[in-house]
């Protein structure tokens, strides 16, 4: 099976979908001549031409709305927004319009629109370029929100998103672009709305998405190797709809849960997961559900402060130890 990067998986999928369906159009800032800020669209302008790969002016509200309107007439735009911070310029078009058009007009119009954007932070991008807003969109009925953690899921979910007739917010992650994984050839999709148990375990369930799933996998391997702790990792993959059943089934097995999320803790993705666990698996819990999240500050520029503000492996190890305290595999 070919091993490719997350970036390659996205790039290949965009190319394959452009070739498959003449109504698929890529739109975004600097995606053509510049080949994308993070080179996800590299080579596609050359291959498909300016009708299919459209450089947009700096006008997120305008061109996201344009894409939604074109989608209403049967075009299938795949929009790249350079980072999720800039999606805020287009929130009216996404939340007040794209998400409501099918429902509000009694099913007479559909909006097959994908908005791809990296969320979270890397390096020292500081307060305005490091935020996580996937929860804002996951809050909104009428939207679908996915956040793949592996090249395989990136390919399968992007295919599913482009072929879906509803607006899909496709969350990417800068630190994941160079990660590698097995991606088979062939026209597979990953269904929107299903989580995935990325690693089976017996002692504790760690729930993550996107970069935090990768973090959870690394921590799980280390704890297994060094301390004999068996961690089950549930990768949400889809934030809306949320596959609560897979989370609950895992809790029934391990009786303990830690959520690791890229966003701020208050009102974040983890709050929804924790509430779901207490609603649907209360009797199976042997410890309080813990959340590992970003510290609640506008992310400071300073390297040491920036690193300390983001959720990391030591936080997750501490949380896992806390929920296992007093058990045979927990800390003494």
């Amino acid at each position: 099976m070919p091993i490719i990067t997350y970036r390659q998986a996205l790039n290949e999928t965009l190319g394959e979908e452009l070739a498959r369906d003449p109504n698929v159009v890529l739109m975004g800032e600097e995606i053509g001549t510049f080949e994308g800020s993070y080179k996800i669209t590299a080579g596609l302008l050359k291959q498909f031409g300016p009708k299919r790969v459209v450089d947009m002016p700096i006008a997120e509200m305008g061109f996201v709305g344009l894409a939604a309107g074109a989608a209403m007439l049967g075009v299938r735009p795949v929009v790249e927004i350079m980072t999720i911070n800039f999606v805020l310029m287009a929130v009216d078009q996404i939340v007040n319009h794209a998400s409501k058009i099918h429902y509000m007009f009694g099913g007479q119009a559909r909006v097959p629109l994908v908005i791809r954007t990296p969320s979270g932070g890397i390096g020292q991008l500081a307060a305005t370029h490091s935020q996580s807003f996937e929860n804002w969109f996951a809050y909104c009925p009428g939207l679908k929100v996915v956040a793949p953690s592996t090249p395989y899921d990136a390919k399968g979910l992007l295919r599913a998103a482009i072929r879906d007739d509803d607006p899909v917010i496709f969350i990417e992650s800068l630190p994941l672009y160079d990660t590698k994984g097995d991606v088979p050839a062939g026209d597979f999709t990953v269904p929107i709305g299903l989580a995935d148990v990325k690693r089976e375990g017996r002692h504790v369930t760690v729930i993550g998405y996107s970069r935090t799933t990768v973090l959870a996998m690394q921590v799980a391997e280390k704890l297994e190797r060094e301390e004999g702790i068996s961690v089950e990792v549930v990768d949400l993959r889809s934030l809306r709809p949320l596959d609560r059943g897979t989370i609950v089934e895992s809790i029934k097995k391990t009786n303990r849960a830690v959520i690791v999320e890229e966003d701020w803790r208050s009102y974040g993705i983890g709050a929804e997961i924790a509430a779901t666990i207490q609603e649907e698996a209360f009797d199976h819990l042997d410890a309080p559900v813990l959340r590992v999240a970003g510290l609640e500050v506008p992310l400071p520029y300073s390297e040491s402060l920036s690193r300390a503000s983001k959720p990391g492996a030591p936080d997750l190890v501490t949380a896992i130890h806390t929920v296992l305290k007093g058990t045979s595999c927990g800390p003494k």
Partner: protein, 365 residues
């Protein structure tokens, strides 16, 4: 400070018979009049239904804009697509959707144009390409530009008509949309219904350039002002700019002046306008009175015609009300019916389903 005034009166047609009415087909002019009267009576009765609590939410009326709407629709073709703001009852009716389906939507019934899910501000009809009333100021503008983008992309005939209010020309998406429309050379007309007020704020108070047709200048978009109380003027300018938009992919702005007869919405007491002046303007700028006078002068209609037409329209609007009143509201069981166009697993959580089913059971008890 220099007082900014808008050059509105200059574009208003002189009183008396314009030379072009005589050239019109009598049946066509009568059809316009009848349509305008239908919109007038539909809105007056809608207002009455609102006070009787048959209509809820917000309800914005087209009173005073009848010539603007009927003239516009006379110029559009079946291939064209229409996006409007939330003051759109008249537009969808003049586009050809039966009045009963529109009234039923205002009543929130399943038989309404949006299945009772949209209401007054969110009317939609796929068959006639009426692509929605939109409740958020400026929201429809980028969408309309996108529809024009799709027409060009798919090499289809037709243009997009994007109706906005005068206040919308001050919001960001308006400017981003003008830029995109010209940048991509799209077949679209931006149709400003300039009734002088965005809610309670006058055009002069809200816009540093009160001549709204000039607002495309820095985007190299042609604009012109039209007397929105003259049905033929609106039709003819729309026709000309529509042809140009379709053939040459040149966007255009129409600044269509009229007078809003009442407050912003049914519940607005209109205290910010001088009551006497409003009353006077209603008389002076009533498009129906204008057209009726011209029809009499040119011998196109007499008292018997006007009496008979009014009776027909009254019946039609009453039928619309009766149809709406007799129609059932959407079923609670269908609450999630239009959530997604493509079904996916786990759309409803267990807790959501439980709460929904409890409410469903409660309603059935």
């Amino acid at each position: 400070m220099a007082k900014v005034t808008r050059d509105q009166k200059a574009a208003v047609a002189p009183t008396g018979l314009p030379p072009d009415l005589a050239r019109e087909d009598a049946g066509t002019v009568r059809h316009y009049y009848r349509q305008m009267l239908l919109l007038r009576r539909f809105e007056e009765r809608a207002s009455e239904m609102y006070t009787k609590a048959k209509i809820g939410g917000y309800c914005h009326l087209n009173l005073g804009e009848e010539a603007t709407i009927v003239g516009l629709m006379a110029a559009l073709r079946p291939d064209d697509y229409i996006y409007t703001n939330y003051r759109e009852h008249g537009y969808i009716i003049a586009r050809g959707v039966p009045a009963p389906k529109v009234m039923a939507e205002l009543f929130g019934r399943e038989t309404g144009v949006s299945g009772g899910r949209g209401g007054s501000m969110h009317l939609f009809d796929a068959a006639t390409h009426f692509m929605g009333g939109y409740g958020i100021v400026g929201g429809q503008v980028p969408l309309a530009v996108g529809a024009a983008y799709a027409l060009k992309y798919q090499e289809r005939p037709g243009v997009v008509l994007c109706q906005v209010g005068d206040g919308t020309t001050n919001i960001g998406p308006w400017y981003e949309s003008l830029n995109l429309a010209k940048l991509f050379q799209l077949p679209i007309i931006f149709f400003i219904v300039n009734n002088g007020y965005g809610m309670g704020t006058s055009v002069e108070q809200g816009s540093s350039e009160p001549d709204l047709w000039k607002k495309g200048a820095s985007f190299r978009i042609h604009g012109e002002r039209v007397d929105g109380t003259d049905v033929l003027a609106v039709r003819d300018v729309t026709r000309r700019l529509r042809e140009r938009a379709e053939r040459e992919h040149e966007p255009a702005i129409m600044d269509v002046t009229s007078f809003r007869f009442r407050g912003h919405s049914v519940i607005d007491p209109d205290r910010y306008r001088d009551a006497d002046a409003t009353k006077r303007s209603r008389g002076e700028q009533d498009p129906l009175l204008h057209l009726a006078a011209r029809m009499r002068e040119s011998g196109l209609a007499d008292d018997a015609y006007f009496t008979e037409t009014l009776a027909q329209v009254e019946r039609e609007v009453q039928d619309a009300i009766d149809f709406a009143d007799a129609s059932a509201p959407p079923k609670l069981a269908d609450l999630y019916q239009y959530m997604f166009a493509t079904e996916v697993p786990n759309t409803l959580s267990a807790a959501e389903r439980e709460m929904f089913e409890a409410r469903l059971a409660g309603q059935e008890r």
